[in-house]
């Protein structure tokens, strides 16, 4: 494991926040996780349900798919554990990788540990650490401390989420499919008229349950993995480890390139603000009132003979006319109003409250109407926005953006000179300033400072031991300030002078 390559932000989190990290990881690696998931589980789904139908127990497929969940959990965990520290593996790689992972613990999870509410946390320990039995139980004791409640809640709520998704699909189907398109068997099923549920509906239910499981089970595994990462961050201070490693790399001078990138990462130019002024330019044409006659050219009254026949045919359709036989159950006797066992204490209270709330509603209506009238009077003649108001609200566009690449060229002086001679004076000075700043930071062994201003570097320049170097840095920064903020550019000779020597040519002695 190389901690430097980790792809998530490590910091000790509250346990519940760690769960959300799991969801974020899953969102970031959705494609590899679900492609591997479906590549492995879809054939098994077909197989299980096929077996169920062949044996004459259609429920078997449903139950088997639920029972095999611990087996399926291996796939999201494999993808996520690789993706966090490295590249996310493709689905072929994931399936091949399963052979290398231990199977013994999966067998345990499929048998005597099947009803275990801590499975999500147990998975990474079993599959990623690969320790002996004694070590594992000791590790488990340390890991699970203060986490057991959260892990169990995670399990129950993931079950609940699966149920919600499963019910949502069926309820949406009931809500959105028109009444006459609904199959008769489904209506009987919902009413509870049938004793035996048809196989087709069991299979459809298994399919929907499988889809709901496909959405939630990777989330469950990802959340468990995030809990595991968070616990180890707490126990082993991974975030501090990472920060120390970076600091060490900086001190050893191996991270100079990274420093340069970080230092000038903020220099990428902002996208030019595109001010679109034609908000109200296109005046809306008011449609002139046109009568039907003018529109169609002829009077709409004279009916064609074909139309009358078609209308008569339409009325013969049983859905529009004719007689219907409706059968429904009806009570023979009117139900008596249920007599309350307890006599109300204050029988007049209901009338009083009813009258009170009725009065309140009338007052509310009067208030709303009065408010509308008052608003109309107050804002009279102010409904239209004048064009000049819109124009004045728009700011002038930003011009002269320096287009600087993120990394500095190797030959700084040459590049700056080329830009200067190509009449891109501002870019040339910007490049020179950036190079100068980087050299100053390196000279002073300082950390990268993306938010440092010119004044900061002027102060820093005084800390350089060599007085000549210090003077040159100040000169370059002042020149850049004059150019950037006042548009006053130096002449060619001054630029040549600035480009010679130390900051522009890092190898130079002075």
């Amino acid at each position: 494991m190389e901690l430097e390559r980790i792809g998530v932000v490590l910091r000790p989190r509250v346990t519940r926040e760690a769960l959300d990290l799991g969801a974020a990881m899953l969102r970031a690696h959705a494609r590899p996780v679900w492609s591997a998931w479906f590549a492995f589980t879809l054939p098994l789904f077909v197989l299980c349900n096929g077996l169920g139908v062949a044996l004459g127990w259609p429920w078997l497929g449903w139950g088997l798919m639920w029972w095999l969940k611990p087996l399926f959990d291996r796939l999201p965990l494999y993808v996520l554990s690789r993706a966090v520290f490295d590249q996310a593996p493709g689905w072929r790689q994931t399936l091949r990788g399963q052979a290398r992972w231990p199977w013994r613990r999966t067998l345990a999870a499929l048998t005597w540990l099947r009803i275990d509410s801590n499975r999500a946390l147990r998975l990474p320990l079993d599959l990623l650490e690969g320790s002996t039995r004694a070590q594992r139980s000791a590790r488990w004791k340390v890991l699970r401390r203060r986490l057991v409640g959260e892990t169990s809640l995670l399990t129950y709520f993931c079950l609940l989420f699966e149920l919600v998704l499963f019910l949502s699909v069926w309820l949406f189907a009931l809500l959105l499919i028109p009444h006459e398109w609904r199959p008769q068997s489904l209506i009987e099923l919902v009413r509870g008229d049938t004793q035996v549920i048809p196989t087709a509906w069991v299979l459809a239910g298994a399919g929907v349950a499988y889809l709901a499981m496909s959405v939630i089970e990777p989330l469950y595994v990802a959340c468990g993995f995030a809990l595991y990462l968070n616990r180890r961050t707490q126990l082993e201070a991974w975030d501090i480890d990472l920060a120390f490693r970076r600091l060490r790399a900086r001190l050893q001078g191996t991270a100079l390139l990274a420093v340069a990138l970080l230092c000038f990462g903020a220099w990428t130019p902002p996208a030019q603000a595109q001010a679109t002024a034609e908000v109200h330019a296109a005046a809306v044409d008011k449609p002139a009132s046109v009568s039907l006659d003018a529109l169609f050219g002829a009077r709409a009254e004279a009916p064609e003979p074909g139309l009358a026949q078609a209308a008569a045919r339409a009325y013969r359709d049983p859905r529009f006319g004719g007689e219907h036989t409706v059968r429904r159950w009806q009570l023979k006797y009117k139900p008596e109003p249920a007599a309350t066992s307890i006599n109300p204490l204050f029988p007049w209270l209901g009338h009083l409250l009813g009258g009170f709330f009725q009065l309140l509603l009338w007052l509310l209506l009067i208030g709303v109407l009065g408010g509308l009238v008052w608003l109309g009077w107050r804002w009279r003649g102010r409904w239209l926005v004048r064009d000049e108001e819109v124009a004045s609200a728009l700011s002038p566009p930003i011009s002269s953006i320096v287009d600087a690449p993120a990394a500095l060229p190797a030959d700084l002086a040459g590049a700056a000179r080329a830009l200067w001679q190509a009449q891109r004076r501002r870019e040339a000075l910007a490049l020179l300033y950036r190079g100068c700043v980087e050299q100053t930071a390196r000279e002073l062994r300082q950390p990268p400072a993306a938010d440092a201003t010119e004044a900061h570097w002027l102060r820093q320049a005084r800390a350089i031991d060599d007085p000549q170097r210090s003077r040159r840095v100040i000169e370059i920064v002042r020149t850049w300030q004059f150019a950037a903020y006042a548009g006053r550019y130096p002449d060619d000779a001054t630029v040549e002078q600035l480009l010679a020597g130390w900051p522009a040519q890092p190898g130079a002695s002075t």
Partner: protein, 226 residues
């Protein structure tokens, strides 16, 4: 880098970090709120039942208030937290981190009608799972989000030893990592403490226990102790 934080930079250059709360903590808070309201309603029904029809009317009004006003009133007057959210350490805020006000709170609670479709919060669940800041549709329209309000308990007090200036300038992040190390060292094993301190041999020039001691001395200097 994957994280659940929504970072907002103010005009003064201060970055606010909103730790978005996802579907699982929010569902737990919702279930807790539902139970609370149910129990409250049942308890209130006992005295109301003796008033007959008038009591029924009042019970209906109470049910309406519990369904529609509960969220808004709790969020606006209880610091963005219904009792369930408070128990789970969650808080509703505007998308820019300011405390939630009347109109957005009303909008996000009214739009529960959409999120609750088809009766079991299916739309809301899918929305919170898909959205990067785990907002349901009501949150997206109202411009609000739910964040974690609870912080981890702070580490131990840094042991006071005589301060030692750092040999070179460190950036703010690096200084924070050093202070973190000194504060959380008590939660780590001694071997792990030494392992971490040995990473900074280029800074301290020492190893093991001596390195730990020197790092703590540097942290004392960073904290401004004598």
């Amino acid at each position: 880098m994957i994280d659940t934080v929504r970072e907002i930079e103010t005009a003064e250059g201060i970055s606010l970090r909103l730790r978005a709360a996802g579907a699982l903590p929010r569902a737990q808070a919702w279930v807790l709120d539902l139970l609370l309201r149910g129990v409250f309603f049942l308890v209130a029904m006992i005295p109301l039942s003796i008033f007959g029809v008038a009591g029924n009317g009042l019970a209906m009004l109470l049910l309406f208030a519990l369904m529609w006003a509960y969220g808004v009133v709790c969020e606006v007057w209880m610091d963005g937290q219904t009792p369930g959210k408070r128990a789970l350490g969650l808080r509703v805020v505007h998308a820019d981190g300011t405390p939630v006000t009347w109109l957005p709170s009303v909008v996000r609670n009214l739009l529960r009608v959409v999120d609750i479709l088809p009766g079991v919060y299916g739309v809301g669940l899918v929305s919170t799972l898909v959205d990067p800041h785990a907002r349901r549709l009501g949150d997206i329209v109202a411009g609000t989000m739910v964040v974690h309000a609870r912080e981890l308990p702070p580490g131990q007090q840094v042991p006071a030893v005589s301060a030692l200036p750092l040999p070179l300038a460190l950036s703010a992040d690096e200084q924070a990592a050093l202070v973190d190390y000194a504060e959380r060292a008590g939660q780590l094993t001694v071997q792990r403490q030494e392992e971490l301190a040995n990473l900074l041999t280029p800074l301290t020039g020492l190893r093991d226990t001596a390195a730990i001691r020197q790092l703590v001395a540097h942290v004392n200097w960073l904290l401004g102790r004598a």
